[in-house]
C-alpha cells in the first residue's frame, strides 16, 4: 500500500497557500485595528512590526466613510505626535476642529519622509476616497524621495508591486536611477521575488494580523522576554510620554545645547551661499536635488491636494541665533515654501510664533504646540478642500 499520495499532498499545499492568501486579503481589507490612534512604538519597525499597505488601507476603510473627506497625515515623528499621549495628540485635535465631515488618520512614522507610508496609502485610495487631502511635514530643502526612506521604503515597493500607485514618467525615472545606482542584478531579483511573491501569497498581511490579534513571533528589543514577547500586539496600548509632565529645564538641557544649536544652524546653513551683494542664495545643489525629487514625489493630479508643512525649531534655540542667522533662516524657509508651491503643492511653515512651552524638545511639540498646529492645519485643510471643490464655501463655514 502507498502511504504517500503526491496529488493529495500537492492539493493540500495549494489549498493551504490559497486559503492563507484569501484569509489575509479578507482580514486586511476589512481592517482589524479596532482602536487605532497611530502606529505607536510597539506597532512599528522599532518593535519588528512592519504595517503593510493593505493593513493601512483597511484601517482607513474601517474608520472613514466614503462621504467624508479623507485627511491622511504623514511625515515624521513631529506629525506622529511624539511627546503627545493619547487624548492630546495633535491629530485628535485636528479631527475635533474639522468635525464629522472629515476623517483624519495619523500615518506618520518616526524618522519618515513626507513621501513615506501615509503618502502611498492616500495615493492607493485615490479612487475609493477621491475627496482626500494628504498632509505631511518636512524641513527646508529636505529631499522628498519618491521611494521614501528606510526602514519604511518597503511600503513603496509593496504598493508598487501590487499596482496601487500611479505610473508617471518622473517617478519611474527616479526609481530607474535608484536601481542603476544602488541595486545589483541580484538585488533587483530579490526585490522582485520578495514583493512579487507577497503580492500573490500575502504572507506579511497574514502574519501581521496573527501577530496583532493572537500572538507575536518576532523577538525584538522592546519586548525581549516572554510573556510580553509573544503577546498579541493589540494588548500594547499607545503609551507615549507626555512632554508637559516634564519640567521645561529638563526638556532643554544645557549639556546638549551646542549639539542642538549646530542642528538648528544646519537647517539653513547647509542650503545657502552668500551673494556678492551680501545677501543669501540657495545653493544650486540643494535646489536641483530638491526640484528633481519634488517633481517626482507625487503624481501631478495629487500634488494639488498635498499640504506640506515646514517644521520650525524651538524658539529656545532660534532666539540664540545671531541676527544674520535669523535672516538666513527666514530666507531658507521662504525659498523652500516657494519651491514646493512652484510644483503645485500647497505649502507653508509653522512654529515661528510658538512659545517655548509649545516644544517638548528642539523639534517635537507639546500638546499646547500640537493644538496650535492643529488649528493652522485645519484652516488650511478647509481652504484646500473648498479650492478642490470638495465642498462649497458656505458648507466650509458651518
Amino acid at each position: 500500500m502507498t502511504f504517500f499520495r503526491p496529488v493529495g499532498f500537492l492539493v493540500g499545499l495549494a489549498v493551504g497557500l490559497v486559503g492563507c492568501s484569501l484569509l489575509a486579503r479578507w482580514v486586511s481589507a476589512r481592517g482589524y485595528h479596532d482602536t487605532f490612534t497611530r502606529f505607536h512604538v510597539r506597532l512599528s519597525p522599532e518593535a519588528h512590526y512592519y504595517p503593510t499597505i493593505e493593513e493601512m488601507r483597511g484601517i482607513v476603510r474601517a474608520r472613514c466613510r466614503p462621504d467624508q473627506i479623507l485627511v491622511i497625515v504623514g511625515g515624521n515623528s513631529i506629525f506622529h505626535g511624539v511627546g503627545q499621549p493619547v487624548g492630546k495628540i495633535w491629530t485628535e485635535e485636528l479631527q475635533r476642529l474639522l468635525g464629522p465631515r472629515y476623517c483624519v488618520i495619523n500615518f506618520a512614522f518616526r524618522g519618515a519622509l513626507c513621501t513615506d507610508g501615509g503618502a502611498y496609502v492616500a495615493e492607493s485610495l485615490r479612487r475609493e476616497f477621491p475627496r482626500q487631502i494628504y498632509v505631511a511635514n518636512t524641513s527646508p530643502f529636505s529631499v522628498p524621495e519618491a521611494y521614501g526612506v528606510e526602514p519604511y521604503r518597503y511600503l513603496f515597493w509593496e504598493a508598487r508591486a501590487r499596482g496601487l500607485l500611479e505610473s508617471f514618467p518622473e517617478r519611474e525615472q527616479r526609481v530607474a536611477e535608484f536601481f542603476a545606482r544602488d541595486f545589483s542584478v541580484g538585488d533587483r531579483f530579490e526585490l522582485w521575488g520578495r514583493f512579487g511573491l507577497d503580492r500573490v501569497l500575502r504572507y506579511h498581511d497574514l502574519w501581521n494580523w496573527v501577530g496583532f490579534r493572537y500572538f507575536f513571533t518576532i523577538p525584538n528589543p522592546l519586548t525581549p522576554a516572554r510573556p510580553q514577547a509573544t503577546w498579541a500586539r493589540e494588548k500594547f496600548k499607545d503609551e507615549e510620554v507626555d512632554f508637559e509632565t516634564i519640567p521645561i529645564h529638563e526638556r532643554f538641557k544645557a549639556e546638549s545645547r551646542d549639539a542642538e544649536m549646530a542642528i538648528v544652524r544646519g537647517f539653513s546653513e547647509t542650503h545657502v551661499t552668500r551673494t556678492y551683494r551680501g545677501g543669501w542664495a540657495i545653493r544650486w545643489k540643494s535646489r536641483l536635488e530638491f526640484e528633481a525629487a519634488a517633481r517626482a514625489a507625487f503624481p501631478d493630479d495629487l500634488k494639488r491636494r498635498t499640504l506640506i508643512m515646514l517644521s520650525r525649531n524651538s524658539p529656545i534655540y532660534l532666539n540664540q541665533l545671531t541676527r544674520e542667522e535669523r535672516t538666513r533662516e527666514e530666507f531658507v524657509y521662504r525659498e523652500s515654501t516657494a519651491a514646493w508651491r512652484s510644483f503645485g503643492y500647497r505649502a507653508l511653515d509653522y512654529g515661528a510664533d510658538y512659545a517655548p512651552a509649545d516644544f517638548g524638545d528642539r523639534t517635537h511639540l507639546t500638546a499646547s504646540g500640537g493644538r496650535k498646529l492643529a488649528k493652522k492645519v485645519a484652516e488650511e485643510v478647509v481652504t484646500l478642500a473648498t479650492d478642490l471643490g470638495y465642498h462649497s464655501k458656505v458648507e466650509a463655514k458651518r
Binding site: F3, G16, G19, E46, G111, Y203, L206
Partner: protein, 55 residues
C-alpha cells in the same frame, strides 16, 4: 514514526485506508503551506530592528 503511521493505517478497515491516506496527505500539504507561508514572512523581515534617533 513511519511504522507507527503504517500500523495505524493498516489497523483501519480496508475501505477506509485509501481515503484516510489521502486525507492525511492533504493535511500534510496544508500544514506545510502554513509553515512555508510563515518562513517567507520571516525571511522577508530585516534581521535587525530599526533604532529611531531624533535629529
Amino acid at each position: 514514526m513511519i511504522d507507527w503511521w503504517r500500523n495505524l493505517l493498516m489497523s483501519l478497515p480496508s475501505g477506509l485506508r485509501v481515503p484516510t491516506t489521502w486525507l492525511l496527505n492533504f493535511l500534510l500539504g496544508l500544514a506545510l503551506a502554513l509553515v512555508l507561508n510563515y518562513v517567507l514572512y520571516r525571511i522577508g523581515l530585516p534581521s535587525k530592528p530599526f533604532i529611531y534617533v531624533a535629529f
